[in-house]
Amino acid sequence: MNPFSSGTRLRDMIRAIRACKTAAEERGVVRKECAAIRAAINENDNDYRHRNLAKLMFIHMLGYPTHFGQMECLKLIASAGFPEKRIGYLGLMLLLDERQEVLMLVTNSLKQDLNHSNQYIVGLALCAMGNICSAEMARDLAPEVERLLQFRDPNIRKKAALCSIRIIKKVPELAENFINPAAALLREKHHGVLITGVQLCTELCKASEEALEYFRMKCTEGLVKTLKDLVNSPYAPEYDIAGITDPFLHIRLLKLLRVLGQGDEDASECMNDILAQVATKTESNKNAGNAILYECVATIMSIEDNGGLRVLAINILGRFLSNRDNNIRYVALNMLMRAITVDAQAVQRHRATILECVKDLDASIRKRALELVYVLVNESNVKPLTKELIDYLEVSDQDFKGDLTAKICSLVKKFSPEKIWYIDQMLKVLSEAGNFVKDEVWHAVIVVITNSPDLHGYAVRALYRALQTSADQETLVRVAVWCIGEYGDMLVNNIGMLDVEDPITVTESDAVDIIEIALKHHTSDLTTKAMALIALLKLSSRFPSCSERIKEIVVQYKGSLVLELQQRSIELNSIIAKHQNIRSTLVERMPTLDLLEWEEKQSGSIPNTTGSTPAHASINIPNGVAKPSSAPLVDLLDLNSDDVPAPSSSGGDSFHGLLDIDLSGAPKQSGVNHSPNNGTDALMDLLSTATPTQSRSAISDLLNSGQDNKTPVSPLEVLSSPSSNSIQPTSSAGAIDLLDSFATNSPIQENNGPAYPSVVAFESSNLRIGFNFSKLPGNPQTTIIKATFTNLSPSVYTDFIFQAAVPKFLQLHLEPASGNTLPASGNESITQTLRVTNSQHGKKSLVMRIRIAYKMNNKDVLEEGQINNFPQGL
């Protein structure tokens, strides 16, 4: 009968399978066996059913499908003999789990077996139930299990106790029924029953508040006494491990005491003595003793405060931490993590040791230690700790670098005391582990750099240096490329040198070289290459001497198979080749990116940045200039509108940062301020900061004409469009107020009914702009300004563009100009109509900042100025 004695076929099958030399051979044997078993199942063979099932279990363990044997399990369970039932239950546990519906069919058999007169069969049923019962079975069979908790044989009682744990995990509302019988188990002397009873009580406390209260009231003292007896028990060979009687029971008891003592002072008080005894008396030279100490420390940390005990516990952890055994150090780190909420000071004392653990060879220890260091960092120790971590980054394992980098970045961001330190640390991280740095991290680096105007030069030079040695770190390359594009001139001219820096000599062509390398490097991905192209465009304007070379590099990508690069290349090439006059405007420095807004965006709440500026409402199609595709141009600096922290589509509100420029210091000459085109002039920067948003047909500029630097002024968007050459005679109803002594220089126009005098708004050696004013009847807020541009030089101006901007309380609409070519010597003029709406009419007077770009003898000329001499009352 016994299917497993030697010579029977299970053994033969295992031998045959083991003898197979190849996987294919093994599959052949298994296939044959499975076929035979299926045949036997079909014939309803009773004699060999349990042997067949045993074979199936072996086959299952090898990883072959055996579902066809499931019903055989049920049949075996239903048979009468113990050996059949045993194999049946074993098969049930191996081949099925609680989710299979077949399992429902076994409930009845289980019920019978739980009530069986043979206690071994009862044991089998309890075991199967404990391992695989479902919620429904738990409900159906809970009364049987409950009854078995009082069974005479301890083997059944302990199995029933563990089975009850499964039941209350599946159906927590059954917990109440088990409270009393579980409490009775705590008085058992039999270790097996006691340990399972303690576990059942622990689970009941988790499942039911009522159970927790009950055990706390009725059992705490008893448990303390049980633990005391156990600790002081004489040598018991049956349970002895390393000189300790049943460490497992120790640990379970300590765990239950922890649950009972947590949040209850009386219960905590009650167990203080025994915890102190366990903590001081337990031998710590063997694993078993340390396991008890570890559990004891956990309990001391969790129960209500007792200063003395906690000192004891922290000391134990300190000893653990210096242990040579890695396992002990691991659990010490684990527990210090919990101890930090209790006594951060004590944990800080072990900082040096913990830091050493971060560098351990064992990944498990490193991981724990790193997490611990992470919570240990504060404002006062961030610098040395970060230094240690970054130093370690250089030598750490590849698979640890990701974790480590993320933690360092997070720490540096959180505790950085100053921007230069932040930039330094991030550059180190980018250089060491740039490939592990997440996108939002390197975006943040760029945002911080733009927000530190005094560090622009420092950052770009540091990045340039870093790139020499770490060109394989993708994110470093990106940040460097971006910064060199923006601040290339500072790199070459050593602008903004800090005392701590060594001067470096970088020529313009060196800077272009490094971008070219980034562009062509085989590891650079699309984002990096696209960024490199834009950087080149920017450099072509910053370094006119390299313009030709850059053009050649850009042209090479005209044939790129990557659409994005191809498109960029063509667009950029067109900007470089055909649109000299606006290129410098297009590629001006990015405005300072708003740190707060960017962080908000990172945290998911993206503010609506469209603002109130009528961006596209008044776009006019220019007819004088060949119109390049405007949309892609808007797009073109915007490959990563999600990735690059450049607010790109309409950055109205994003640019508050640039408005903080002091204007009150500017000289006020008779109402007109104009400045020559000077690259470092703050006004110029102001005028064209939103480069990525500009397009040919809608040149939107941000500028600021606030006169009081204390009042932050919002940027406005101004549109200007060149239109046909036709010259419109100035027939505007120019205004003159004879009583107004202000506009003495204005050309006087003798029209009837004028309300306001005309003014010369702007005059330079080359150009004069006159403004005529009129009002729409019934709308005093809106002023119609007719601007007349007159060429004072002997040369013809081409590509003439007038731009204007006003503070927030004004609204400005520009109509198309009458032309974009201005003949020499004031022969003819261009006119353009502006409509200004003053929302503060009567309180504030008009003010405007203007910029005029044109080509004289094929040379780009840019003139700027501010108009303050508007007649009063507009």
């Binding site: 016994n2 497993f4 053994r11 295992i14 083991r18 045993a54 279990m57 072996f58 363990m61 990883g63 499908p65 113990f82 050996p83 045993r86 194999i87 074993l90 546990m93 191996l94 789990d97 609680e98 989710r99 071994y120 309890l126 075991c127 404990g130 391992n131 199995k159 563990l162 744990i165 499964r166 270790h191 097996g192 340990i195 399972t196 576990q199 049956e238 349970y239 491990i241 460490p247 497992f248 029971l249 640990i251 379970r252 765990k255 694993n287 078993a288 340390n290 396991a291 570890y294 956990a298 890695n326 396992n327 002990i328 150090r329 691991y330 684990n334 060879l361 064992d362 498990s364 220890i365």
Partner: protein, 142 residues
């Protein structure tokens, strides 16, 4: 609680797999593969603990066999390490000088011993003697 117990040799052949949580067969194979890869190349001086998904694997190597327990992250690692050793002592006692082949040919007995040692993912009996005696009684019933 214990989520599963695995006995694997160095080549990754599973000699015993006991799951106390329901898993699909395919998932079980994946788990066995991953656990084997986690433990097989670790230096003997390293900790016996590896983090595995959201749990922790406590493993111990005896000759060519790895005994791995997957337990909750808050469980006492040292205790489960001791637990593995106790199980191995029981096997050693039962098979008198256990070797891998004993476990292969008597896999059903190994399951039987395990069911007397651990039930529902919790420790059932801590006395080696009690388990061996119980096994003797069960053997007689065969």
């Amino acid at each position: 609680m214990i989520r599963f117990i695995l006995l694997q040799n160095r080549q990754g052949k599973t000699r015993l797999a006991k799951y106390y949580v329901p898993l699909e067969d395919s998932e079980k194979h994946k788990v066995e593969y991953e656990v084997h890869r986690l433990v097989v190349n670790r230096d003997p001086k390293f900790t016996n603990f590896v983090e595995f998904r959201t749990h922790k694997v406590i493993y111990r190597r005896y000759a060519g066999l790895f005994f791995s327990l997957c337990v909750d992250i808050t469980d006492n690692e040292l205790a489960y390490l001791e637990c593995i050793h106790l199980f191995v002592e029981i096997l050693d006692h039962f098979f008198s000088n256990v070797c891998e082949l004993d476990l292969v040919f008597n896999f059903h007995k190994v399951y039987l011993i395990l069911d007397e040692f651990i039930l529902a993912g919790e420790l059932q009996e801590t006395s080696k003697k009690a388990i061996i005696e119980r096994m003797g009684e069960l053997e007689k019933l065969e």
